[in-house]
Amino acid sequence: MDTYTKLGILAEAAKYDVACTSSGVGRLPQAGKLGMASSAGCCHSFTPDGRCITLLKVLLSNACSYDCAYCANRRSASVQRATFTGRELAELTVDFYKRNYIEGLFLSSGVLGTPDATAERMIECLRILRRGLRFNGYVHAKIIPGTAPELVDALGRLADRLSVNLELPSRSSLETLCPDKNAAQIARPMAQIRDARADEAMHLPTESATPAERFQKPYDGASPLPLRTSGPALTLRPRTAAGPSRRSFAPAGQSTQLIIGATPEDDNRILQLSRSLYEQFDLKRVFFSAYLPIMDDERLPACDTPVPLRREHRLYQADWLMRYYAFSPDELATPDEPWLDLEIDPKLAWALRNIDRFPVEVMEASLELLMRVPGIGPIGARRIIGARRAKRLDFDDLKALNITLKRARHFLSCAGKRDPASPLDPELVRRKVVEDARASSYNSTRCRIEANQPRLF
């Protein structure tokens, strides 16, 4: 079987893994080596459904010995099997990188016999890539639960980011759908990665902050904003003093992914879970993957269930609000109302539930408060703080600052003045937003499909 044929099989097998980012580590080029890593990452292409392609995402092998119910590569599935050699995959990465197709390699694999045997093959591939072909670009490696600690360590020294898939949002769902995996087995490598990174940080000198990081709060508005700001610098989460560029073990940290919509957990539970993952394991990202009904199995939703795309989108928005805007899970999906509103975004939904906190005064509000206004983000809030030092701002000034006023208008006052055409009426705001969404981007087919769907999960 030549590489072209294998690539078709093994990319097809990896497509269900949604995580595809090349961000989190900036690494300068080194003499004689190919490539570098930029902390913001770079999306080189987009799939027909709009997901970013930044890494060569394939499985090393899809000849899996596990039998997870939702997985297309499970032992009992009748699919064509293939396995790359380490050399082949490393050459492919370099060929694609030099043509500016990708930023690096996302290496994952089905379980070839045992987790340890699989990890050894992955290490062999990465050694050829890093040492033989002198590749200095980005590498993401997936850890299979049950891999021996010394192999996890070896992978962490070759890769930039590691990830262990949580797969499902609760222990009982995991037991039902993945009989070969268990929650403790998944938590072990996650804890190991966290501890190894913390240990290394203790021995590293504190890095001087980059301009973008210095721009993090408290922002007094005295100096102009840099032209380019990187997303991670805007997060309100506490960060370690040791930045990624000197680290040798998983410098871009770890992430995880879980499937939503295959099992009955609600949004509040999922957001609580992701917050505890961020805190407990110092994760960089939690990825949500809307369940695609490809398997006919009585433990899973029926094959004609539509993919919960809107829910996935709302969960990502909520995740952003937690990481960049310091929202807590209970503010977004309360234990009493545990589902996110599918019609309007979670920040607007929060604002409408807390209408008594508005209007916010543009001339006085703190950064945190400005960022709670629907339509104002981390950059817009900082632009306002910078501009209000120089003059009393009115709505036209906010427009000049490129603030999206469509929604924000209802929630703001400028030097005591409100916009009379945009009252603070929750029903009106909701109706306007929903109508706008229908008129602009959501076509009628979609609305019809959703109107006829009872929400099961």
Binding site: P48, G50, R51, P211, V307
Partner: protein, 245 residues
């Protein structure tokens, strides 16, 4: 551009740098720098790369204002002249990112790499350093046939040479098709990967809008091998490194 004009422009540029640095809390040794990456002046360079017909006048208005008000320009973000210049700079920065994302290199028969990219602003001078870092070990050329600019890099060099070309030469360079025999197979593999990553049930019809087209504008599609139907067949030649059993 003749040398007199260059010298004059350089003088205005330097004068402006020290003028806006006076009294600025983030200035160092009387010059823009540090905290804000000298945004007040560097953004002029980005704005100048815009194709918009309004660009020269907008830059002129901003430069006059900056000489008048000095470091206060940093906080005058709502002033029409500043907002207009910021708009142009943002537009060019966006186009620079698209150049980094969607420029596609091909391996030529002589072992060097060539990419031709048609941005809506003169982005090559800004992104040349990025590609020099990324492809330091390679000899390559990135050519923009619209603005007739090319970035040339020799293997091992730390930076590129950015040169202005005449229209005929730029077009000829962009049209070079003496690619290496490996090229067809590698392009086909990339298209195969791209095609395999598509997921059913998540497309524009189910989502309600075309997310791909908004991330990856259609004006670039013709030059992307992953969307080129001709890249569907790998042909008979398989490079040796990919012949494994």
């Amino acid at each position: 551009m003749d040398e007199c004009m260059l010298a004059l422009a350089d003088r205005v540029w330097r004068g402006l740098g020290s003028s806006v640095a006076k009294g600025c809390p983030s200035a160092r040794r009387g010059r823009c720098s540090g905290r804000c990456e000298g945004a007040c002046v560097t953004k002029i360079a980005y704005a100048c790369a815009a194709d918009e017909p309004s660009m020269p006048e907008a830059v002129h208005r901003y430069v006059r204002l900056a000489f008048n008000v000095g470091s206060a320009i940093a906080t005058m973000t709502t002033h029409p002249a500043v907002a207009e210049l910021d708009g142009l700079a943002r537009l060019v920065l966006g186009e620079c990112e698209r150049t980094r994302q969607f420029a596609r290199f091909s391996l030529l028969a002589d072992g060097s790499y060539l990419a031709s990219f048609k941005p809506k602003a003169n982005t090559v001078p800004f992104v040349a350093a990025h590609f020099a870092r990324r492809m330091g070990t390679e000899r390559f050329c990135l050519v923009d046939p619209v603005h007739c600019v090319a970035a040339l890099h020799e293997a091992g060099d730390r930076r590129c040479h950015v040169i202005q070309l005449d229209q005929a030469l730029a077009a000829a360079l962009a049209a070079r098709d003496d690619v290496s025999p490996d090229e067809r197979y590698v392009r086909t593999m990339w298209k195969r990967l791209y095609d395999s990553l598509a997921l059913d049930g998540r497309g524009p019809d189910e989502r309600g809008y075309d997310l791909r087209a908004s991330w990856m504008p259609k004006r670039f599609w013709d030059d992307l091998p992953e969307l080129d139907p001709r890249a569907g067949n790998p042909g008979a030649y398989v490079p040796e490194r990919y012949q494994s059993a």
